[in-house]
Symmetry: C2
Subunit: 478 residues, 2 copies
């Protein structure tokens, strides 16, 4: 038998969440460190999760009229500087190309931290008339943001994402696009990744650099810290003016376009790891798991019967589900059970000599409960029902946790106490002044995560006592 670190040495999730997270990401072979500072390798099992996210989003983007394109990786410094807030926000994190071969470049090139500054100039070239609008376009790529301290998936110097960049005739169209995209992201995060979120907008201090408004989804991780799981930015006419993107409207007037940008990244995989795991390792929701069903044949007693039966079952189930047949003969069945629990496969199916004789299999859910025998008759539908139950169950667990860790505060003291006791989201009335927000940040170490979409403010700002204009959910955050 091959030696590997047993899962028994995995740190307990409840005791050392941070180290548990890192060890799970490494040992489940989702990602690994590389010799490049702050950059990780995404291993095939982790990348398969990203492929699942890509395929789901790509289908929804196309159904809503979006098309895909590709823009250069390297952006001249002078373009990045055209939108003042934008360059201020991103310049400190830019990796700069200064040489091509032996030649020193006349102008430095930024490795893209985001692509507004190269896409908007192209829109200026492509958009002439209102008939050319809207432009609904995205690209899949990687971006580089020079980070001092990094963590696998959650904060890396390079990450994968898509970035949508759309151009519209009116403010209303652009805002509707932002909301459409937020809805797609919400469906992805809640229905596919089984992570419940709060949806809303960011306060000005947390907006994307150069945006007039940022829509956001915020999830709560088991350590009580919030994490952003998708953003959609209403850019107003800021970038249109910086890059001179105008169109001739039907009233024969030249006007600036209204633009949006939006993204989710491989950071989502970090949220996914944190959201559903346990002391045995990862738990993957069936709709995103690279392998929904892992079949482990019980070898050693009657392999001539068991192996063909396991292969036939894999072929049968493979038509409907993502199936892995683990028939490696160098590992015991018990070792494989641990391995696939660590790697979060939602359903395990064992098949041994007696099971073959009885036309049944033994099924274990990664979310717990006893093993159960299941007749081969109607097995496809039965497994489908169980997978749906696991998916629903994971979301329901997350929802209970989120509700149990969301509270409200009227005063600074209450807020600070709630932040310690409840560890989660605390809803606070806010007057809208930056100075009051700063006071709350300083006192609590929390930041304002989201103003809910259906905001109905009530009460007074706990800092200045003025009537609130917004309700803000505060939390400590990743």
């Amino acid at each position: 038998m091959q030696e590997r670190e047993a899962t028994s040495t995995l740190p307990k999730r409840s005791e050392n969440f941070s180290e548990w997270y890192t060890q799970v990401a490494l040992r489940a072979e989702l990602a690994d460190y590389t010799p490049v500072r702050g950059s990780m390798a995404i291993r095939p099992y982790g990348y398969a999760i990203w492929e699942g996210i890509q395929a789901w989003l790509d289908r929804h983007f196309k159904e809503t009229g979006h098309v895909t394109a590709y823009f250069p990786l390297l952006i001249p410094e002078s373009f990045l500087q055209k939108e003042a807030e934008h360059v201020e926000g991103f310049a400190p994190q830019v990796a700069w190309v200064t040489h091509g071969g032996d030649e020193e470049l006349a102008e430095r090139l930024a490795v893209r931290p985001t692509s507004e500054a190269i896409i908007l100039p192209m829109y200026a070239k492509w958009i002439q008339s209102y008939r050319d609008l809207p432009v609904l376009l995205l690209q899949w790529n990687s971006v580089v943001r020079w980070e001092k301290s990094t963590r696998l998936f959650l904060r890396t110097a390079e990450f994968l994402w898509h970035e949508g960049h759309t151009a519209h005739r009116t403010m209303e169209d652009a805002d509707a696009e932002c909301r459409l995209i937020l809805g797609i992201y919400r469906e992805l995060v809640e229905d596919v990744l089984a992570i419940p979120v709060l949806a809303g907008i960011k306060p000005p201090s947390e907006r994307f650099a150069g945006a007039d408004n940022t829509y956001t989804l915020e999830a709560l991780m088991p350590d009580g810290q919030a994490i952003q799981t998708g953003t959609s930015h209403f850019l107003g006419q800021n970038f249109a003016k910086a890059f001179n993107v105008k169109f001739l409207d039907s009233d024969n007037q030249e006007k600036f376009i209204w633009s949006t940008s939006w993204a989710v990244s491989t950071r989502l995989i970090g949220s996914l790891i944190m959201a559903h795991g346990d002391d045995k390792g990862l738990i993957l929701p069936p709709r995103i798991a690279p392998f929904q069903v892992v079949i482990v044949p019980i070898l050693g007693r009657d392999d001539a019967v068991v192996i063909p039966a396991a292969k036939a079952l894999a072929a049968q189930l493979g038509k409907r589900y993502r199936v892995k047949l683990d028939d490696r003969d160098a590992y015991t069945a018990g070792w494989k059970f641990n391995e696939w629990e660590l790697r979060g496969a939602p359903l395990r199916v064992e098949i041994g000599p007696r099971d073959v004789a009885n036309a049944q299999v033994v099924v274990s859910r990664r979310t717990g409960g006893k093993k159960a025998s299941l007749s081969m008759e109607g097995i496809e539908d039965a497994l489908g029902r169980i997978l749906e139950e696991i998916q629903t169950d994971l979301f329901a667990r997350g929802k209970s946790y989120l509700e149990a860790h969301t509270t409200a505060a009227e005063t600074l003291d209450e807020l600070a106490r709630a932040m310690e006791d409840v560890k989660g989201f605390v809803r606070v009335p806010w007057c809208g002044m930056q100075s009051c927000e700063d006071t709350i940040r300083g006192r609590t170490g929390a930041s304002p995560r989201v103003i809910p979409l259906d905001d109905a403010p009530s009460g007074n700002c706990p800092v200045c006592g003025m009537p609130s204009k917004y309700s803000v959910y505060y939390a400590r955050a990743y």
Copy 2:
């Protein structure tokens, strides 16, 4: 009606092939120039071709046991230097990152020109035993190679590709992998893109930097120049030794792995544009065309009947084909005909009031021939047959061209004359010496493109007169 440049101003393909190429790429909205030197934007119509290539390849890679991963964009200079030939080949073309934010880096980072130097070190970490082999892995990304002179798709400072990197237990396994991949590429290029190729290996002077052998596909463009349409490299143990990638074999001996790498890039789209066009513009083979069928309703006389009929037809055909309904009311039908001919849609379907009344449509093939009326009854199957005919026809035309422009020469004079007269591939016996190859290059301006897979050398080297060891196809090349 909106003004655009009429296609009548497109340069004639037969008169100015190079300018025709560039204008088609731009006006068909496949790509555009950007403010970044040598880097293009791939527009949605061009990117849709790439998505088609990706989807086809991804399916075939997965069916043959390959998995996808992601490795860092930025590679420390010291890693690039570990394989001597490799760094010599790529260093002059590297874009170098020297600063992260305000900080100057202790070591320069290469924007990946190819990823052997970052993937092999990870293999050294991941591979311990023969049980870990083979590793069959690829990534989809972009690479940067600093080019002095660039052309849309054909030669750009940045291009998109996949790069496969596999690790094997034996030399034979690695060689078989190279051949498997070459076969997949050949099927893509010939059966999907309808471009016939010569398959074989490169002479040493044309190999990938660091490879022991490079398998290649070579196509012939209508100007008589060859272009490489896919390569698969047998890397031997060169990179394994440079990066110390070893495994413990079943005989308890530590051994170096055998590795391969392989790629096709967006350059293929350049070949596709060149291969099939005519004076009206692009011609896209049905299996790769973003829109296989373009429906143009004949508006103005009975729109209340025609528009719903066109929409119903688009919905019906959309279940089986990639369909575009062009119902824009700002353009005449004639303008749209020109537009979709320029953009290479293989089939156009017109539907007007009389067609609706007669339960028929009018069909035009992009490859020529008269318009024909087609009954709505059985239209789906009928269009399918026509699309297949167009696909077959395009490949057959290419094949005739390739055969008519492939010849053989026994002497240097014959070779030089054939290069001028036939403009294509000339087969030459070769002794295997570099000096003889250099003589031929100097005399003819052609380069050795490929030694056929099923090589049966005969005759004597035209330079030194020694008996030939190989047959080499020479051509001028992109």
